[in-house]
Amino acid sequence: MKRKDPILQIAMQIQRQLARHGHKTPRDLQDAAENVLERQEMVATAWHQITKARQRGWHAAARQVQGRLFHQARLLQERLTELLHREGQHTQAVPQVPCLAMFMGELHQLQQEFENVELDPKGQVISAQTQSIELEGITLGPFTIELHLDRLGRRFDSGCFDLVATEPNPANSDDAVTHPHVRDKSLCAGEAVVPLSQVLRQGRIADAFCIINSVLKTYNASSPYVHLSDWDGTSCPECGGSVGGDDLYRCTACDSDLCESCISRCDLCDDSTCSSCLERDPITRRYCCPSCRCFCNTCGRVVEKDEFDESTGLCPGCSPDESGEDTSTENPNHEPTHEPQPAEPAAA
């Protein structure tokens, strides 16, 4: 095999990354060990004080420090317990780095599992293309899964990967979402987090790509960046047209989201209001939202609030004017009202 063989070069890079970062002691183990040493020193200090006090005949002082000695010993015991508790956790935290042949086997398997596998030793990237992904009738196209080896070792999660849509069909509401579980080329691995971490730590590159491919082929409707039902945009409830998220307008009265063509405005307060929530004052001919209109208690017509008499609950046409005369004849919608008749004198 030639030294310049990309499979050999990439395999060496993977091995180097895992070996470089595998020797680091996990932080919690380091802290636990240092805590034990600290307490051990406190016990030693207390015992040294006791010994000195006894030598000088200061027996009362020695007895006092003795209490401190046992206190520190109990704390040391706790710290030892914490350290020993980590024994089982960290037995497999620093696995043996596999041999080069294993990594080369992984790369050969990757070439069998995927199309268009590219090995870029200079850029330290392994890439493989999936088949076209289709979820619930929506074609998302193929994805190129890129493993960036410079990230591997520092982390063992989907952050080592970029997922590039090669024939993108992003969500209408967000160009960055090319798959329900991919945004900005980053996969949210969900149930794949744990198995992906395990296979990356063990250098099982082919399995890592297969796991990511499985996530791409699955739609988790309970937790997508964009639901597939909204992938091509939200449907306008007025006209039924498909509209992207940025092109939706909310009716302040009923909270419906409508397209630009179907949204209107209140002529009084200028709020965005759908046509279903607007009613027109037949006299002023202005369209009013629910907040800006009232209804006459007598004739029942729509009255814009600027014209409405709140004290009487009447429109201008039904309201008596200041002289007390009924001005209802001015209102074309009103029935003629009857003038109150004087009361008949009581019979003698």
Binding site: P180, L187, A192, P195, V215, L216, K217
Partner: protein, 73 residues
């Protein structure tokens, strides 16, 4: 005899499993994952696709990866 079993589901453990000589791949999976459907997994023996009735040999490397894994946001 022993085979290396790489289960890429859940905790994704890898372990040596003792099997009877003559055990086929489908019987092995039925024992390891009772009640599960083999078509739900990508199954490889020594990195190669295999038939369900292939007989396992000493030291074989058996891996299985779910074909559907739920992502998130």
């Amino acid at each position: 005899m022993k085979v290396l079993f790489l289960n890429n589901e859940g905790a994704g453990f890898a372990s040596h499993v003792e099997v009877e000589p003559g055990t086929t791949v489908d019987k092995f999976l039925a024992a390891q994952l009772p009640g599960r459907n083999a078509t739900d997994f990508l199954i490889r023996v020594n990195r190669l696709p295999v038939a369900a009735d292939q007989v396992l040999a000493e030291g074989d490397r058996v891996s299985m990866t779910p074909v559907k894994i739920a992502g998130a946001a």
